[in-house]
């Protein structure tokens, strides 16, 4: 291998290392955020269950006021869009799979029919 080719591959390897460091930092931040949400939720439950009536009512009223009607509607719309997207995606993946099978048949006799090595639904293989 030529020395410049080697240098370029070294650069690509360096980019991989930087990506791993960034991914690690992002994962830590995500878990910290999840831990904070769980802590805050537990804190609220403890206030509801253990503390005085006044504190219970205050915590409950805060929760109810924050669950406004428009927020519930927005959540419903988001959920419906999510379900719609999922069903649509399932259909698309099925079409990709059929198309891939046809492509393979058509290209079977080609002298160079190298594959992208993606799986049958067009995703990167998991391993």
């Amino acid at each position: 291998m030529n020395k410049n080719e080697l240098a370029f591959r070294q650069i690509i390897a360096n980019s991989e290392i930087s990506q791993r460091k960034f991914d690690l930092a992002r994962t830590i931040a995500q878990y910290a955020l999840i831990a904070y949400c769980v802590y805050a939720f537990c804190d609220m439950v403890v206030k509801l269950g253990v503390q005085s009536d006044e504190a219970t009512i205050t915590a409950l009223s805060k929760f109810v006021t924050s669950m406004s009607l428009d927020r519930v509607v927005h959540s419903g719309v988001t959920l419906l869009l999510g379900v719609g997207w999922y069903l649509d995606r399932k259909g698309k993946k099925r079409a990709i799979s059929k198309l891939g099978t046809m492509r393979k048949k058509i290209e079977a006799e080609d002298p160079h029919n190298g594959s992208s090595n993606l799986n049958e639904v067009g995703d990167t293989p998991s391993s």
Binding site: N4, I12, L33
Partner: protein, 212 residues
């Protein structure tokens, strides 16, 4: 209480970005690349070009590498590669030379066709490089009005009629216009981050490496 909802909202946003939007962008990019691969085959057959030729094998391998690499691409990796390549003149010259020599053994018609395919393929990959990053999408959305203004400004010399015609056509063909706008914005941003030849060389090597 609002802070909790905000934190949950941020987590959901991350989930939607990675689980829905980014996947859809990846699929769109791969659709474009698969279409290009089919177009190469059809053109070779229609023109009676030799499908046993090395040029056919190489251009197909290039598209396959792009197809395989796109998902792994990220802003961080691109910035790191660009920074190192920019600081090493020898490697930069080597990448340019390899890119030029890759299809030097083809005839003029084939070369023109392959150059066009390479340009469109790298344009699709560059678009993914931009729109696969949440940060760059945010920049892209902010940059879009300036891009539209720039397009209108370039038509300014042709008169008001041309500008109105462009606006009218854009509204009638809204789907194509949006697609062109996204491509244009993506290309403008990507070209400021990384050169097409470097990205092609990077994608080709990284894509081929993942076959092993």
């Amino acid at each position: 209480m609002n802070v909790i909802f905000f934190a949950i909202g941020v987590l959901l946003l991350m989930l939607v970005w990675h689980g829905v939007v980014r996947r859809a962008i990846l699929d769109t990019t791969r659709d474009k690349l698969f279409d290009l691969r089919d177009e190469i085959r059809e053109t070779y057959i229609q023109n009676g070009w030799d499908m046993k030729a090395d040029s056919y094998r190489r251009i197909r391998a290039l598209i396959n590498a792009h197809l395989r690499f796109t998902e792994e691409m990220s802003l961080i990796k691109i910035l790191v590669v660009n920074r190192y390549v920019a600081s090493d003149r020898e490697v930069k010259a080597f990448i340019s030379e390899r890119s030029r020599a890759m299809f030097s053994d083809t005839n003029e018609a084939q070369r023109a066709f392959i150059d066009d395919i390479r340009r469109r393929a790298i344009s699709a990959v560059m678009n993914y490089a931009v729109f696969g990053s949440f940060v760059l999408v945010a920049i892209g959305v902010a940059f879009a009005p300036f891009y539209i203004a720039g397009q209108i400004f370039t038509l300014a010399n042709s008169g008001v009629g041309s500008i109105l015609a462009m606006c009218f056509n854009s509204i009638i063909h809204i789907s194509n216009s949006l697609s062109d706008l996204i491509d244009g914005v993506g290309r403008s941003i990507a070209s400021k981050i990384i050169g097409a030849k470097v990205l092609e060389g990077y994608s080709f090597r990284a894509g081929q490496a993942s076959f092993c």
